[in-house]
Symmetry: none
Subunit: 225 residues, 2 copies
Amino acid sequence: MSRQKILLVDDEPDILEMIGFNLEREGFEVFTAPNGRKGLELARAHTPDLILLDVMMPEMDGMETCRELRDDARLKNTIIAFLTARNEDYSQIAGFDAGADDYISKPIKPRVLISRVKALLRRGVPAASEMPKRDLSGIVIDKERYVVYKEGVELSLPKKEFELLALLASQPGRVFTRENILSNVWGNDVIVGDRTIDVHIRKLREKLGDDFFKTIKGVGYKFEP
Amino acid sequence: MSRQKILLVDDEPDILEMIGFNLEREGFEVFTAPNGRKGLELARAHTPDLILLDVMMPEMDGMETCRELRDDARLKNTIIAFLTARNEDYSQIAGFDAGADDYISKPIKPRVLISRVKALLRRGVPAASEMPKRDLSGIVIDKERYVVYKEGVELSLPKKEFELLALLASQPGRVFTRENILSNVWGNDVIVGDRTIDVHIRKLREKLGDDFFKTIKGVGYKFEP
DNA sequence: CGCAAGGTTAATTGATTATTAACGCCTGCA
DNA sequence: TGCAGGCGTTAATAATCAATTAACCTTGCG
């Protein structure tokens, strides 16, 4: 197999050099671009396996670039990871449903980055996605802050509601039985009635929209973008 | 809390020892059995928290064992994970609906297995699912999502219909008697009239196409791709 | 033809979930 | 301390949808 190609897009030359150097040392073929437009060009020219995209860039930012990348059939399946400054306001990101596969916070130690990159390439899916959980639906769940963004609008849900949402959304599409839900959100030894779950589901539907939560009668609930 | 108990059932002594050793080193209380029958005994004796079940075994295979385990009230809630050889033909896996909670492919690195096991015990829900999706001539059955795709189009069937389909499709071509069907989909102690099955079959025919369900008069029904 | 086995349809029953309101229980705060 | 408000829970009721049945129809075959 030929070397795997990585495209690195960031407006800071230092970052490009530093990360690029480390990736190359690991045997990857690295392309770098200082802005979205150039990045797009290179992506189309080389169809990289992975694209690391800084979110904040002049001229054409990460979000915009990502969307355009996703519009290119040949890049549909390319893994795209956003590089974000730590503590960046996720509500900025939440609004855009650009289609990234993972978020990586800067600054990041080269070794850590390398292993994230390798994991992404190996699995095709974000490993332990560091940050906001995208759900291809304008809904972002930030466990760290106990906050949910719906189309960029911040909602702060009560604990149970949040945890229920987080559980369902952890595997969109998967049906969780009431049993599943109880043992995960409430714990194995707590006894609460079945209706309790319904009520919380209802509150979530109220706040996030009915369509996201599907009832499978006699089976359970699932979250669908 | 006392140590969590894990029952490991596999006919290969090497595997038993290897996995068993690793699980014990992690602090679990491990029981091992070389076949389904022994496994069942041990399960009843110790009510483990998790059962790892090899699918292919002489004497009493994983599927069969699983079904029997599920029939035992005290083991109703025990987590059962199947160990399957990679690339095993899932169409062979009638245990599709035998009631397994997760599928784990062998060979698997001990470290990976351990983390899967821990996740299962912690969450009671499989993390990244290797649950088989049955694909037969344009019909895909996804038990995890409780959804069926017909030529890519998503259909969500009611519980009984879904289970009936899953049963028939678990062994395409094989005839299931009405008795078979009743005991698998409805359970041994439920009494329903004869026409009930017909009606469900009819609904399936309506939704998936007449041709898939063949009636063998005086015998039963079968599913044919 | 007449029976046996299934097929069809629509109505009925039954189970499960949705909804709403109410009740404690905390927490924060004057 | 006592009040206000948010949260989690439950109970009661309504609404929804699946499951079942009953009644009748069709088909194949002796």
